[in-house]
Amino acid sequence: MQLPKLTDEKAKFLSEKAHAIRQSIIEMLIEAKSGHTAGPLDMADIFTYLYFHALKHDPKKPDWPYRDRLVLSNGHICPVLYATMAHAGYFPISELQTLRKFGSRLQGHPHREYLPMLENSSGPLGAGLSQAVGMALAERMDFGKTSDKQFVALLSDGELDEGQSWEAIMLAGKEKIGNLTVFVDRNNIQIDGFTEDIMPLNPLADKWRAFNFHVQEIDGHNFRAIDEAWVQARAVSDKPSVILANTISSKGIPEFERKWQWHGKPPTTPEEIAIARRALGIVNK
């Protein structure tokens, strides 16, 4: 199948879209007064690439059976999921301001009962890849290898501490699921500190390779690199792919970047809010 080319013009469009999504994320968090900052901001480029370039989907028909499936495993970064979906047209951007509020469809961690257009509910870590593998296995039962439906699982690096992650990695390798692509948000932080201090993951690429994955390491903020990796991953059909996306936590707000303290809190003080808005070019607030 011919994949759409990432023209310079499209790359520029994606870059602008990702910026708008980051603005939405920070406004949601400021309004909600709780939630996670680092992961949503650092995954904005990959979410933008997937929803606005790579995935086959239709915001007007969320249950279109032929859509590609995107499974968010680390549900706590849902502000980026919600913001991207809103910008893609799944629901009004104004609804983003209801995040984490009573009665909102935008629960603190994604819940299908409230927002049925989600592929999965998530929050407790380590279970998303299992679900994506199950989806791909079901697809293979029905259509063999003729299906070109893509299954994408988005994982954090911290959740690789969970044993279940490796149970799923083992199964995907065993079953040689060629239409599965995993993105790992390699931002090197988790709630308590830096991943390599809390529970070292390196050599991470070697670990995935040993489990029979096709492994790529990329700059997770470079659309050209993301695109090349996606095209590569699509070309590999005899094993699952993982893209270890090196990201900068809290990307877009230099004062918050690479600081694990921003994993699980939003800007709340007037100073923090001003820093965040200034960095993201949010005016008139």
């Binding site: 499974v71 819940h111 299908r112 009962e113 592929e119 999965n120 509910s121 998530s122 929050g123 407790p124 380590g126 279970a127 299992s130 679900q131 994506a132 593998v133 199950g134 989806m135 791909a136 296995l137 079901a138 697809e139 039962m141 029905d142 044993g163 279940q164 149970e167 799923a168 083992m170 199964l171 065993k174």
Partner: protein, 342 residues
């Protein structure tokens, strides 16, 4: 007397009553379900033979996934398959699924509202020699507490087959609790079964054939239903020097609870004994107590495990040691009647 409308096994109280494995009834039902509906798939965590999934695997190899010894993955992979329209059955020992993978069942199956059927084999102390690590006696408590979940504990192999076929037809996440040992065949193919409906298996009639009020109601689930019936029969015949009229309810669906049947039995008898191969805390008896406390409180006695872990032994000696033998049921009946008349 045996409730004739239930069409139970005519050899119910004969010495040569047939025995069969409840888990084998599940295995047969799974194959039948798969023949009826091609969406039915099966996943196992390295216990295909002993959870009686082998026949399905032989017949439908393309619809079977071996997950390996990884029960957490088992639950969530099944959730993913269900989201693509499959009706997955997952099996392991009850101690491991829903024991080890409870959170995955809660989040990725029930919270996610995916119709996965969780089949826990080797439940109860009657697993026997494997010992306490393998004897799931907390599984009813941890499954019935999860919203969306249906919990079924069949009384014999035939009911297990019917329950399997029935739950494959619903969109509900379901826990099906199975025992390891061969147990007496109580029901027949003609015995009615419906998810959510308790059945009266034993009651009393006068000489004219009119049903008369029983002195006590026994509500039993799983393989111990047979012991409850034997107790009812003994009391009816006065074998222990006393005649007591007992009505026996087979509560195979623990959730959703058949509230009507439960409180009506309490209303009729004024005294209830619950019988289950499970911890008393949080189990079927607790579900019955929750119902009766709301609708019609009466004296209750609970036959089950009293806050202990199991151990190695023969099934019957373990049942007696942990207070779930016929003798214990009879004592509970006498106690509850005494309490009601005090």
């Amino acid at each position: 007397m045996i409730n004739p409308s239930q069409k139970l096994n005519p050899k119910l109280f004969d010495k040569d009553i047939e025995y069969a494995e409840i888990r084998k009834g599940f295995g047969d039902g799974l194959v039948k379900s798969a023949e009826i509906d091609k969406r039915v798939v099966a996943l196992c965590a390295d216990l295909t033979e002993s959870t009686r999934m082998e026949a399905f695997k032989q017949k439908f190899p393309d619809r079977f996934i071996e997950i390996g010894v990884a029960e957490q993955n088992l639950a969530s992979v099944a959730s993913g398959m269900a989201s693509m329209g499959k009706i997955p059955f997952i099996t392991s020992y009850a101690m491991f699924s829903p024991g080890r993978n409870w959170e995955q069942i809660r989040t990725t199956i029930c919270y996610n509202d995916r119709p996965v059927k969780i089949v826990g084999s080797h439940a109860g102390v009657s697993v026997g020699p494997d010992g306490g690590t393998h004897q799931a006696i907390e599984d009813i408590a941890i499954t019935r507490v999860i919203p969306n979940m249906v919990v079924i504990s069949p009384c014999d192999a035939i009911e297990a087959r019917k329950a399997t076929i029935a739950c494959a037809k619903t969109k509900m996440p379901t826990y099906l609790r199975l025992a390891r040992e061969k147990t007496p065949l109580i029901t027949t193919n003609e015995t009615p079964f419906e998810i959510g409906k308790a059945q009266v298996l034993f009651f009393s009639k006068d000489n004219k054939g009119n049903e008369i009020r029983a002195d006590v109601g026994i509500i039993a689930t799983g393989a111990l239903v047979y012991k409850a019936l034997k107790v009812a029969q003994d009391f009816e015949k006065g074998n222990d020097g006393v005649e007591i009229k007992v009505k026996v309810l087979n509560l195979s669906t623990i959730k959703p609870l058949d509230d009507d049947s439960v409180w009506r039995l309490a209303h009729e008898t004024g005294a209830i004994v619950t019988v289950e191969e499970h911890q008393i805390a949080g189990g079927m008896g607790s579900a019955v107590a929750e119902c009766l406390a709301r609708h019609y409180p009466v004296p209750m006695e609970f036959v089950g495990v009293k806050d202990k872990f199991g151990q190695s032994g023969k099934p019957d000696e373990l049942l007696e040691h942990y207070g779930m033998g016929e003798k214990d049921i009879k004592e509970a009946v006498r106690r509850v009647i005494m309490r009601k008349t005090q």
